[in-house]
Symmetry: C2
Subunit: 292 residues, 2 copies
């Protein structure tokens, strides 16, 4: 198997493209895919100040690496969740990566910011709570530090499994909000997903191709979620018909999403923290109260 570009021995076969690539040209292929996504969906403007949320995992690591190649206006933010060895490894990986990318890195400790770390949460839905906390704090940091966009490492598989979940549960509201970007509204900073058209498997391969040392362990608290099964189901379909996942997201964005009712969400400031919420007190403040 030879690289379709340079004819050197191939590193990977991209079945849905009917092409093979060496490491160098696979990296180029992914980078140009991300660039196209950014241009097509107008994710980044020249004068943006972009916070890249980096956990140390494959997706956000690849994201930081690619964005730092394409743009100057990015800063990496890492939240230290205080999950023992897992968080220690994550922090080291992110430090190494930001040096490799020559990007400013800011590390925030959850414990310093809210007074507890993830292992201290005694709720059943710890993973849900962790997601909420991370979203809230990244937004708070972005707002307070003057960033106008938050880039996150959501890949194609993340997005599709979320779509499947909404389709099965009939959650049209959530379905209508799905997309590669959200707009900034008051203190709620817009989020962008430059890896929107990248397969999860491609992100792993990309890290290997360019030599990113990402954290392979999964969080010790992560539970076998429904989302993981949706991803497996989508993998089955992709295996049989390469390109199905891309076709699915394209169909959704072009054909289904425009049909969904666009409900204007009314946001006001939380009575406790002042950040945006749809009710009186935001979910984060409610959660922190429950935890403490």
């Amino acid at each position: 198997m030879k690289c379709s570009v340079c004819k050197k021995p191939a590193f990977v076969k991209v079945r849905y493209m009917k092409k093979s690539y060496c490491k160098e040209h696979f990296a180029q292929f992914i980078e140009s895919k991300v660039k196209n996504t950014i241009e097509k969906f107008k994710l980044i403007d020249e004068d943006d100040k972009i916070l890249v949320a980096v956990s140390g995992g494959k997706d956000s690591s690849a994201l930081l690496y690619i964005l730092s190649k394409l743009f100057n206006n990015v800063v990496a933010i890492h939240l230290d969740l205080g999950i023992g060895e897992f968080s220690r490894k994550s922090k080291e990986a992110v430090k190494e990566l930001s040096k490799l990318c020559n990007v400013e890195l800011k590390i925030y400790k959850l414990k310093d910011m809210v007074g507890f770390s993830i292992p201290e949460i005694k709720l059943e839905r710890r993973c849900g709570a962790c997601g909420l906390i991370k979203r809230y704090l990244l937004n708070k940091i972005a707002y307070e530090e003057g960033f106008n966009k938050i880039a996150v490492g959501h890949n194609l598989d993340d997005e599709l499994s979320f779509i499947v979940n909404c389709l099965i549960s009939g959650d049209i509201k959530q379905l209508s909000r799905i997309g590669p970007k959200t707009q900034t509204k008051g203190k709620l900073i817009g989020r962008i997903k430059p890896l929107y058209k990248c397969y999860e498997s491609e992100m792993k391969l990309y890290c290997d191709a360019v030599g990113i040392n990402y954290v392979k362990e999964i969080c010790p608290f992560s539970k076998g979620a429904k989302q993981a099964v949706y991803k497996k189901a989508l993998d089955l379909i992709e295996e049989k018909s390469p390109g199905s996942k891309l076709s699915f997201i394209n169909s959704f964005i072009k054909k289904i999403k425009p049909l969904l009712p666009k409900e204007e969400v009314k946001l006001n400031e939380c009575k406790e923290c002042g950040f945006m919420t749809t009710s009186d007190v935001c979910s984060f403040c409610k959660l922190v109260k429950r935890i403490k």
Copy 2:
């Protein structure tokens, strides 16, 4: 494991219902589910004359059995496709079944009706051609014999795999036509799907429970279709979260379908055969020309 109704030893556990049933009460459960589907979607009126298309497989066999218990106005139609031993076994199974159900059975030979049988079709898409031929001939028989509805054995898994196919390929037109019934339009007889809320696995169990001797072999020409992979993918999801398939179809019918554009399809009579088509000559007439 005991039957949730009568406490006798259970024959099957229905996970999404969190119930177990003996053969008798499982059959009752399925029959009442079909009855509810018929009532909810107003599939059958008292004065209907219903043609039940019976192949001899588990779905259409279960359908005939259940409809013959619930209604008097049903006649079984079997198309002999001329596929050697497979068709011979199918015909025998249908004959036995119609005796069991005490229902009139009419058998039509494809060879007599169109001059060829399925093995003589030399097209790549033989399965697609077979589907088209069956739909056309069943409609022709229904129209000419004065039936006003055609009942088909499509189950929940059939419908969902079709929905998934449309979602992935972005076929909004097909998606908007999906549902448990179509209306009669001129010479195009309305079709109903009383097994709309029944899992494929339930149909097999139902046949075993009531003692229907259905054909277990699959057609020797059937190809590993995409649809089969969609079904496997849906099985994975159902296995993890029982009830997902039912939730998916309910969400689709209640929440997604009403959002889809309702395009009025303009039908006229085929210049060759006089049956309904969207173009000058219907797909069946075109196909027969190609085959001959």
